[in-house]
């Protein structure tokens, strides 16, 4: 590539990067600015006056620590639960021959086509009958067992399909049962796929918005996305410094999960049969 083409390419990439980077940068830097500076134009790239008022008020206006904890533990339970359910099902669909496996797999795949938005009205009624409205059960049970986990099962199946037979044969000769083969041989090899599933699932649970506003009514039970929209003043106008501080804080766990599982995520995608 010629030097001129390279320069043009870098220029283009930098220009395109602006709308991707600026909002996040602006969110984080503004969260430590006083309100007056957030609203001033032109925006200062770094805060001239440093203020943590926004961060303090976040916790005074709402039970924000509780809401933070709600989101974190729900996302964690959903992620671990989905990994278990999808690894078991994906493994069986890929490697165990049992009558009805194909029809059952097609049946499970329909979950991909029917987003939970379609079924939100009856789901509300079902959880209402079970006395689970304003609890976290709907936000835990539906993602782990229902439609959202189907993509995870599909990814796990694609991964297990590619495992060489010899590995399992060796285990069988050693007298291992099915579960032992799954747990001690197949699952440890599936770490990249599990990493991809973990990130997908964590992000999905962390960002869930329709379900919490439908199922939860008490502020102490709220999850973060729902809580973020509640930082408004007496006139219904948004309190920008508080909102941006709260918003910045919601990015932290996702960032941590992403940094931990990033390599596995990319590898996982490359190995899941999504590759052309």
């Amino acid at each position: 590539m010629s030097v001129r083409a390279k320069t043009a390419l870098y220029g283009l990439l930098c220009l395109m990067a602006v709308p991707f980077v600026f909002p996040t940068w602006w969110m984080v830097t503004s969260s430590v600015k006083p309100v007056s500076e957030i609203l001033s134009w032109p925006p200062s790239p770094v805060p001239t006056t440093f203020s943590l008022d926004g961060y303090r008020e976040v916790f005074e206006i709402q039970p924000f620590a509780q809401q933070y904890f709600n989101s974190a533990y729900i996302a964690l339970v959903v992620t671990v639960g989905t990994m278990a359910v999808s690894a078991l099902a994906g493994y069986a669909f890929a490697r165990i021959r049992f009558p009805g496996a194909n029809p059952l797999f097609l049946f499970v795949l329909t979950g991909l086509l029917i987003p939970s938005e379609v079924t939100i009205v009856p789901l509300f009624q079902m959880f209402n009958t079970w006395g689970m409205i304003d609890t976290h059960w709907p936000l835990i049970l539906v993602p782990i067992l229902g439609a959202p986990s189907v993509l995870a099962t599909f990814i796990m199946r694609q991964f297990f399909l590619a495992l060489p037979d010899e590995l399992e044969e060796a285990g069988r000769l050693d007298g291992l049962g099915r579960f032992a083969i799954f747990w001690r041989i197949a699952l440890p090899l599936a770490r990249p796929a599990l990493g991809a599933v973990a990130i997908f699932t964590f992000l999905h649970s962390w960002n869930l918005y329709l379900e919490p506003i439908v199922f939860l009514t008490t502020p102490a039970n709220f999850t973060l996305p729902q809580a973020l929209t509640q930082f408004v003043d007496a006139y219904g106008g948004p309190m920008w410094d508080v909102q941006l501080s709260a918003a910045s804080m919601t990015a932290i766990p996702v960032l941590i999960v992403f940094v931990i599982a990033q390599r596995q995520f990319i590898e996982g995608l490359a190995h899941t049969g999504l590759k052309g």
């Binding site: 395109m16 069986a92 067992l145 709260a246």
Partner: protein, 303 residues
Amino acid sequence: MSSAEVPKSAFWTTRRRDRLAGYLFVAPQVAGIVVFVLVPLVLIFYYSLYDWNVLAGTFTFTGMSNYRDLVADPRLPSVLRTTAFFCGGLVLLNMALALFLAVLLNQRLHGTAVFRTIFFSPVVVSLVAWTIVWQFLLQDDGGINGALSAVGADGPNWLRGDVTALVSVIVLQVIKNVGLNMVLFLAALQGVPAQLYEAARLDGASAWTRFRRITVPMISPTILLASIITVVGSLQIFAQIAVLTQGGPGTSTTVLVYYLYQQAFQFHDFGYGATLSVLLFLIVLVLTVIQWQTRRRWVEYER
């Protein structure tokens, strides 16, 4: 099968135990789909035949009445138009940009890893947080118009105009999520043999021809999968609308899922909400069938 393997009892042969393991392994997922997908799916058809106001406590069989209301609903054409425009715009823009970025970043070039991270990074920002930031930027006296006035242009009040509000939601959603498809496409591009490009270059094929005749066909299965996921995902958009525009101005950003939410959970009309759910289900079904049917035409090969 090795002769060393002796079944523990006459009935529980290795084969039978293995089958049982198969059923037990898939049981949680299958049961979950029955309870949380199949049963509710049947229920939306059932509920749609009733006049059901949860607040008033009415639950009366009215047959096709909700469907007659649906056909006569003066807001529905606008809602469907908005949904179609939204999905079409979002999917086209997302796929085109993701492919463009993936091809750019697949070049042997220093710093591509940095740019990959940059274009992927909005995926990591929580959705409502991202929407709140854009809400600030898109205000009449917000950052976007500030930047425009700095170069002498006068920006509209983005979230208050019919078309600009819809376009804004599409653009901020594309920027938020294009990184996912970009990563998928990048993974696919790594699998395209470099010799194909070398041969084409020797034959004098232009960059565009190489892209059209090699890149696109070679990664078409990934494009199909990404497009199905993106289409279904775009129909599910809710938080962005609820936070940014509440469906407004008028009904110009009221997509089907948001309308369904309004009818069922704000106006407590579960019967009509269920009827709209039936409509949403049929739309998802038709779109997926069309995509699946057309796959032979443009997907080069399949596993």
